[in-house]
Structures are given as structure tokens and as C-alpha cells.
Amino acid sequence: MKNIIELSAIKKIYKMGSEKIVALNNINLNFEQNKIYCILGTSGSGKSTLLNLIAGLEKPSAGQILFKNMHIENFNEEQLAEFRKKYIGFVFQSYNLFPTMTALENVSLPLVFSRVPKKIRIKRAREMLKNVGLENRINHKPSQMSGGQQQRVSIARAFVNNPQVIFADEPTGNLDTKTTFEMMDLITGIARKNNQTLIIVTHDLEISDYADTIIHIRDGVVDEIKNKE
């Protein structure tokens, strides 16, 4: 299978005053298309930092990140924005919805940034909300919805632009067990249906069951890569 993301010799060092903290050290990873990955690690292991680097939110101190053969570590802010808009979807632990906007408006926002005409973006946002089972909540604001519903909206927003890679940072961290499984079924279901690459960051072993490949991170290095068959 074709690699969509290739990481080679990635190093990330944070400076805390005069002290240097090595968050990631010599990471070499490949992510293939149409597969589901789980980056597993305890808090402070550097798993979130890794996700931020791949998503172009942070720059590595050393090493290369190839996304479809593009060196995103060299991108400037504007190129990164364009890159995220085109290829990347995000699901956050804390949903990060706009509290003043309705579900429909939240979901159609990425399409607004992509200059999609209003009629089309409303149609696509509606469809997306229907896919996540929120057709009755279209005009509700986040404050009028439960945590699970809000995360569904956030998932719909992540997928609405039909990105090639979806990043999910502890997507179920704020949800109960039942909702967690519902959410994981939903998110992996859509990703598989659309042949998208899904990269989930979590500390929850149960979630890693959904992944094709589990990457264990410990103290900033890759500890183990487990492929499921």
C-alpha cells in the first residue's frame, strides 16, 4: 500500500527556560493510505506532540515530514493553512465547536474557508450531519446538545471537506463508555467507507482495538509497532 505520510529522524525539543526537554527523539514512521492508526501512550509520552507535527501545527526541531511527497516541515503559515484545508480533518477531545453557531454552521465552516458556494456547503453539511445521526439537531447550538452530540458535530465537521487524513486527539476523552464505542464505530466507519487515513491519539487500550496498526510511544521514542490482522 502507498505511504501518505513518511516521518524520518524526527526530533522535537522544547526549551523550558534554560532546560531542554526532548519530547520526541528519532521517530521514523510511515502511514499508509486507507488505514486506521492508533498512537498509544501515557500522558507526557510525546504522542500529542507527534500528532501536532504530522498535522503541521508544530514544526520539528530536526527531521523530515513528507506528506504526499511534500516537505511540510518547510511550509510557511499560509502554506500550512492551505495544506490543512485541503488534506486534513481534526477531531478534538474538547470538541472545539463555535458556541454561537448552530450545528449546521459549525459543520459548514471548513467549506466557508474553502470558498464553497453557500447552497452546496449547506447541502453537504446537512448530509454530513445526517451521516452522524444528527438530522434532528441541525439548528441546535452546542450548548443545547449533549457531549456525545457535540462530538458528533465535531466529527461531521472533520469529515465534511472529505480530507485524506483525519486526526483525532483523544476523541472520546470526555465521553462515557457507551458513547465512546458509538463514537469510535461512527468515526472508523466513515473513514473506512471513504478510504481515508485515520490517526487516533489515545491512552485508552480499548480504543486501540479499532486500529489496524498500533504505535506505542514511550518517553519520546517509538516503543513498539503492532499490526493487527
Partner: protein
């Protein structure tokens, strides 16, 4: 992000924070309104000066009123200059001079009698044709001719100055007099004049005074000048005669005053007995007035022209306007700080929002545009409302009886029917105010917007 979406989102964001947006806009409204009103006061002042000047006299006219004592002394005694015919001749030689007329004033020194009515006339001797050049209009009759002798063209107020024959020598302004017709018809009634101010007076015994040695001349009024209710003109009270005729009357007056024990000679006092009181120069166009006046002054004469006042009045007005504008500018500056503060607060508050927008694909230009549109909307809205508000203030200032900068002389000169403008807001001022406050909004939103774009998406999202 399309421009339409940017604007829609910006408006939505503003509307979300109603109170803060309202207060910020209010600041801009006050700033804009104060700058517009301040400037409008200055503009009105200027306009009043202009119309005042145009009312008082013709601006292509230079009045030469005498010899400059200092410069004539410095030129020595051999070249003594005078207000005489040679001066008239010299002035005529100056380039761009249209015509020149000597003027002799017999200021309220002539008594006129018509039946039981009498008046004290302010006789002005002038070249027959020159009167017409001054630009006066006739109410009835005609202007003077060269061969006119004891013929008079009088100002519009003169017929009203004829009153019952009493000891009253002076004419006092009576605001109600216009309602009734003058007591005599100067064009038809028989009128005689005399240099004796007691001529025709009724003495204590009830007999007409017959002791006067002065001769009574029958005169004929051939024209009356138009009188404008709304503008003051010195010509309204003048009686114009040809210069030759006034010269004769002046000689007669001097002779009579010497022979008479009576010192009752009116306002007339003559310290310029062998020359003209004034020489008026009519210039071909407005632009040449200043040069000609300078030349006349260089020849050693005292001269003035209306434009001179206009210039100094204008510079006064410009100073005033600058001062007023500065006061207004300060308030707009305060408003600009208000906008900047609102936008900075907005950036802080929306740090997380900005981060999320970045993560889900907003470019830095989108975010910058969003903030700039928000701040310039505040500016524009404030500017538009402020301009409308200042139109209202201007209207109120003009309709109510407030007068800031118009001195008493102005009020005297303008009649009650024409209230001077207090505030003048032309269209360009409104447009400029709106554009300017929009720009102020844009500028004060620039740094907050830049700050927003520089936020790291990651730290923005992490901030709670």
C-alpha cells in the same frame, strides 16, 4: 473565504457583542460628530465673511483715502503728493485700472427742504459715469450724466430721511419705517438745498428763519438706487452729485462757515480742504486688485480694498478652523483608541476561536480580513451615524438662536430676516467624515488583526 462570507461573519461577531460594539460605535459617533461640527462652524464663519464682504462693497474697488504721512515725509518736501487731479491721472496710468474717480464728501453738511419736510443730506461728489461702474442698481430714474448740474441720484434710504421740519438734524434708524411709504416723493416734489444747516428751521417765534445768507438751490432727484432689505450698503444713505457740482457747494460751504457766526455746520469738518476726500479705483478684475493697491501704496497713498479684510478675516477663520478641527481630531483620536481597545480585547477573547479556525483551514488572510472588516465596520457605522448626527446638530444650531463667533458688527450689518449661518455642513464634509472614520477603524484594527494572525494555532486551541 469569500468577501461576502468575511463580511457576514464579521457582522455576526459584532452583533454577538452588542453592548461593546454599541459603546465603541458611540465613541466613533461622538468623535466624528465633533470633528464635523467643529469644521462646520469654521466653514460657516468663512462663508459669512464672504457674503459680508460682498454685501459691503465691490471687491474690485480700491479706496485711496489719503496720503501716507510717513512715506510722504521720507520722500521730502519737493515731491509732495496730494489727493488731487494729478493723483487721479497717475492712478489711471496703472495697468489693469478700469476707471478712477475722485470723491468729495460733504458728510451730512447739506440741508434739504421740501415743503414742511426736511433732511440732512450726505452729499457725495463723484464722476458721473463712475457711479454706474460701482455696480449699484436703480430703483427708479437714471444714473448721473456729465452735464448734470444740480441733479442727484440718491440711495434707497434717503427718501425716508425726510421728516417733519424740526430741529432734528440727524437721521436715526427706525426699524419700523419701512412699513410706511416715505413722506415725500423725491422724484416729483420740489426740493431745495442749502449749505446752511439752519436753513428752513422754525425758530421759537414760529417764523421761518430768514436770516441765512446762504443761497437755496433747487435740486432735482433723477434716480433712486435700489435698496436691499437684507444687506447693508453705505450707498443707501448717500446722495450722489457730479464732482464739479459738489466742488462748488464745498466752496460755498467753506465761505458760509467763515462768514457765519453760527458753528452749526453738521458733521462736516475739513482737514483736506484743497484735495479730494477719496479717490476710488475700479480694477479690471479681482486678481489685479492686490497689485494695483500695492502700487498705489508705493506712490505714498493710504489705500484699502475689501479683499484686504477678506484676507485677514480668512486667515483668522483658518486659525479658528484649525483650532476647532484640532479639538474634533482629539475626540476622534480617543474614539480610535476605543476601537483599537475593542479589537485587542476581541483578539484576546477569541484566541481559542482563532486557533480553531486556523486548524480547520482558515488562512491568515481570512483571519486578518475578518478583524479588519470588523474594525472598519465600527468606523464606518460610527462615521455614517456621526455624520447624520452632526447634520442634526448643525440644523439645530442654525435654527435656534445661538451665535458663537459672529461679532456685533456683523449682527448690525445683517438684518434680522437673514440670520447668519452658524454651522455649514457641505456634502463633501459628510463624505470625508465617513471615509475618514472608516480609515481610522481600519488602522486601529490593523495591529489587533496582525496579532491574531500571529497566534500559534496550537497554543490558541490549548488556551481555555
Amino acid at each position: 473565504m469569500s468577501n461576502f462570507d468575511v463580511i457576514a461573519m464579521a457582522l455576526k461577531n459584532l452583533f454577538k457583542r452588542k453592548l461593546r460594539t454599541f459603546l465603541t460605535i458611540l465613541g466613533v459617533i461622538i468623535g466624528t460628530a465633533s470633528i464635523v461640527v467643529m469644521i462646520s462652524l469654521g466653514l460657516a464663519l468663512n462663508k459669512n465673511f464672504d457674503s459680508q464682504i460682498s454685501q459691503i462693497s465691490d471687491i474690485t474697488l480700491i479706496h485711496v483715502v489719503g496720503v501716507d504721512q510717513i512715506s510722504s515725509q521720507s520722500q521730502g518736501s519737493k515731491n509732495k503728493i496730494k489727493m488731487d487731479d494729478s493723483a487721479v491721472y497717475n492712478f489711471k496710468q496703472i495697468e489693469n485700472v478700469e476707471s478712477v474717480s475722485p470723491i468729495i464728501n460733504l458728510s451730512y453738511a447739506i440741508k434739504a427742504i421740501s415743503g414742511k419736510y426736511s433732511a440732512t443730506l450726505n452729499l457725495v461728489g463723484i464722476d458721473a459715469q463712475f457711479l454706474e461702474t460701482l455696480g449699484y442698481e436703480l430703483e427708479s430714474g437714471r444714473f448721473l450724466n456729465d452735464d448734470d448740474k444740480l441733479n442727484i441720484v440718491c440711495g434707497g434710504q434717503v427718501p425716508y430721511s425726510f421728516a417733519k421740519n424740526t430741529k432734528r438734524r440727524f437721521y436715526f434708524y427706525d426699524p419700523n419705517q419701512q412699513e410706511k411709504a416715505p413722506d415725500i416723493d423725491v422724484m416729483k416734489d420740489r426740493i431745495t438745498i442749502s449749505v446752511d444747516m439752519d436753513y428752513g428751521n422754525i425758530d421759537t417765534t414760529g417764523e421761518k428763519s430768514t436770516t441765512s445768507t446762504a443761497k437755496a438751490h433747487p435740486v432735482k432727484f433723477v434716480g433712486v438706487l435700489k435698496y436691499d432689505d437684507f444687506s447693508y450698503s453705505p450707498s443707501d444713505y448717500n446722495c450722489y452729485m457730479t464732482i464739479e457740482q459738489v466742488k462748488k457747494l464745498k466752496a460755498e460751504k467753506q465761505k458760509f462757515d467763515k462768514s457765519s457766526a453760527n458753528n452749526n455746520s453738521g458733521f462736516y469738518s475739513d482737514n483736506n480742504s484743497d484735495g479730494y476726500n477719496e479717490i476710488d479705483i475700479k480694477c479690471k478684475d479681482i486678481n489685479s486688485v492686490k497689485d494695483i493697491a500695492e502700487k498705489v501704496k508705493d506712490m505714498g497713498y493710504n489705500a484699502y480694498y475689501a479683499g484686504e479684510y477678506l484676507e485677514s478675516m480668512r486667515s483668522t477663520a483658518a486659525n479658528m478652523q484649525a483650532l476647532l478641527g484640532a479639538i474634533g481630531a482629539v475626540s476622534l483620536f480617543v474614539a480610535a483608541i476605543g476601537i483599537a481597545n475593542t479589537m485587542v480585547m476581541s483578539v484576546y477573547e477569541r484566541t481559542r476561536e482563532i486557533g480553531i479556525m486556523k486548524v480547520i483551514g482558515a488562512s491568515i488572510y481570512d483571519i486578518k480580513k475578518l478583524f479588519l472588516v470588523e474594525s472598519s465596520t465600527i468606523g464606518f457605522l460610527g462615521g455614517i451615524i456621526g455624520a447624520l448626527f452632526s447634520l442634526l446638530i448643525s440644523y439645530l444650531l442654525n435654527t435656534t438662536n445661538i451665535s458663537f463667533f459672529n461679532n456685533d458688527s456683523y449682527i448690525y450689518m445683517s438684518s434680522a430676516a437673514q440670520k447668519p449661518l452658524v454651522s455649514l455642513v457641505p456634502l463633501w464634509l459628510c463624505i470625508a467624515a465617513v471615509v475618514f472614520s472608516g480609515l481610522v477603524g481600519l488602522l486601529s484594527g490593523y495591529f489587533p488583526a496582525r496579532r491574531a494572525t500571529k497566534l500559534s494555532a496550537l497554543t490558541a486551541i490549548k488556551s481555555e
